[in-house]
């Protein structure tokens, strides 16, 4: 799960880059870049959750 989260994070980065290339309008570009950051936050959350799960399993 940790690795899945870490793979999702670059996807958020590519979304941000896509925003620069695809949109000329500053508002659309900002919203899309923000979406990229949100995807990264999701990936980070999954990675942290995976770390906690792995630690719990090592205890049991």
């Amino acid at each position: 799960m940790k690795y899945a989260g870490l793979i999702v994070m670059p996807a958020g980065f590519f979304l941000s880059i896509a925003a620069l290339v695809l949109f000329a309008d500053p508002v659309e570009r900002s919203v899309f870049v923000f979406c990229g950051l949100a995807v990264e936050a999701l990936g980070l959350g999954v990675a942290v959750r995976g770390h906690m799960q792995a630690r719990g399993e090592s205890h049991s």
């Binding site: 670059p10 980065f13 620069l20 630690r55």
Partner: protein, 437 residues
């Protein structure tokens, strides 16, 4: 303000002398962080911790001189490695000379920028060392620092400071950063602190928590630092280093005039002060008394946040930036330890990564130029989305070759005796560790 290095005209001699003087004071920031790293660890690992700080500075200097400076494009050389995408050039890797060839004949500004980057790579590599305290082997810490100095830091430095694609955002995509400014990070909030803080997270995930930190049942075990004096004195000398650091960064990367420098210094002080005051109040309300260690963390978080924006915002905005950093830091430290099971003795993730991200965002929020916020958000997305997975992958591979974690016996007797054969405080009686379960 254009942060790309190559377009700067020749610096006047007085400015060269001033920048050099500032760069000679900037290592006090490194000394401060080294003291904080040592003080927040245990007494039985203090000598290993401080020696590690020194060794990491040495290793990063050598590796950056031999390899990293070429990728960071510090000295005049090739035009950099570029590819075309959507009709725009994406300059992604420097192509300078290896082993600092041509240093003596390079323009003064490039030489000063090189010194700045020597210090920056050392500070970035020190941050994970504090987070891996009490269980990270010295050789592994040095190997990780070498990886950071050879490739990871140079990549970030080139993109942000060396004329790479992040610094060119404003040129290639004019709505992001007016006047071709692109992503701005004069004091290294992203290049140093976010990068170092994310590397600390990678180290913590790979090395795991200290033994006994998270018992099978109940809450996490408190493992307070062994010297609040080291920690608080480290904060004080960091202030000198941070001011010098932010001023030198403003001159080198923003081409700030002399008249703008006092504002940068005042903003640095205000940000740290507001953060300390906020943490003082938060910990007083939460625990009934102010917490010295968390107050130190808050102070440092304010200084870190100032790195991104001290040179380009008003004093009122600096106070706000510090205030938010100071409120968030103790809450984040608690969140990471109690809710997320992240054992970070030096608090690098909260103090450096989180505060650095906040500072970069605030720089876009309060910048006078239109469109800067988008450029800052793209920079933050790059640091999180590229560098955390990259550093984790590199450290994970490195851990297979040079195991990060000391064996259980070494952790029990302390890193000093295990790795150095002698303790930092040989005249002290070392008591049995009651938290060891």
């Amino acid at each position: 303000m254009n942060p790309t290095l190559p377009v700067a005209s020749a610096m006047p001699d007085a400015l060269v002398a001033l920048t050099l003087a500032l760069l000679l004071l900037a290592p006090l920031a490194i000394a401060g962080v080294a003291l904080i790293n040592t003080g927040l660890g245990r007494s039985r690992s203090a000598a290993q911790a401080l020696l590690g700080n020194l060794a990491i500075v040495a290793v990063t200097a050598i590796i950056f001189a031999v390899v990293g400076s070429a990728f960071a494009g510090c000295l005049p050389g090739g035009a950099g490695h570029t590819f075309q995408l959507a009709g725009k050039p994406w300059n992604w890797l420097g192509a300078g000379p290896f082993l600092l060839r041509g240093l003596g004949t390079a323009p003064a500004q490039r030489q000063l920028a090189l010194i700045f980057e020597f210090l920056a790579v050392a500070l970035a590599a020190l941050l994970p060392w504090g987070s891996g305290a009490d269980r990270w082997r010295l050789t592994a810490g040095c190997a990780a620092a070498a990886v950071m100095a050879a490739f990871v830091f140079p990549l970030a430095a080139y993109w942000i400071w060396g004329g790479g694609w992040l610094s060119q955002l404003g040129v290639n995509f004019p709505a992001t950063g007016e006047g071709g400014a692109g992503f701005i990070d004069a004091g290294g909030a992203g290049t140093v602190h976010v990068l170092g803080g994310l590397s600390a997270l990678a180290v913590i995930w790979i090395a795991g928590p200290r033994r006994g930190k998270f018992p099978k049942e109940g809450f996490s075990t408190a493992m307070p630092g062994h010297s609040a004096v080291y920690v608080l004195f480290g904060c004080l000398i960091s202030l000198v280093g941070w001011m010098a650091w932010n001023l030198a960064g403003a001159i080198l990367w923003l081409h700030a005039p002399l008249a703008a420098l006092p504002l940068t210094a005042v903003n640095t002080l205000l940000s740290g002060s507001a953060a300390l005051a906020a943490t003082f109040v938060v910990t007083s309300v939460r625990f009934g008394k102010p917490d010295a260690s968390l107050c130190a963390n808050g102070w440092m978080a304010g200084l870190v946040a100032s790195c991104a924006c001290a040179a380009m915002v008003s004093p009122a905005a600096s106070l706000f930036v510090g205030l938010v950093a100071g409120i968030a830091t103790p809450l984040l430290v608690e969140l990471f330890e109690l809710a997320l099971s992240v054992d970070d003795p030096s608090g690098a993730i909260s103090v450096h990564a989180a505060a650095g991200v906040w500072g970069l965002f605030a720089a876009g929020l309060f910048a006078p130029q239109h469109g800067q916020l988008v450029a800052q958000m793209v920079g933050i997305a790059t640091l999180l989305g590229v560098f955390l997975p990259l550093v984790y992958l590199l450290f994970w591979l490195l851990n297979r070759v040079v195991p990060f974690r000391v064996d259980a016996d070494g952790e029990r007797i302390g890193m000093d005796l295990h790795e150095l054969g002698g303790g930092a405080y040989p005249e002290f009686v070392i008591h049995r560790d009651e938290s060891y379960r």
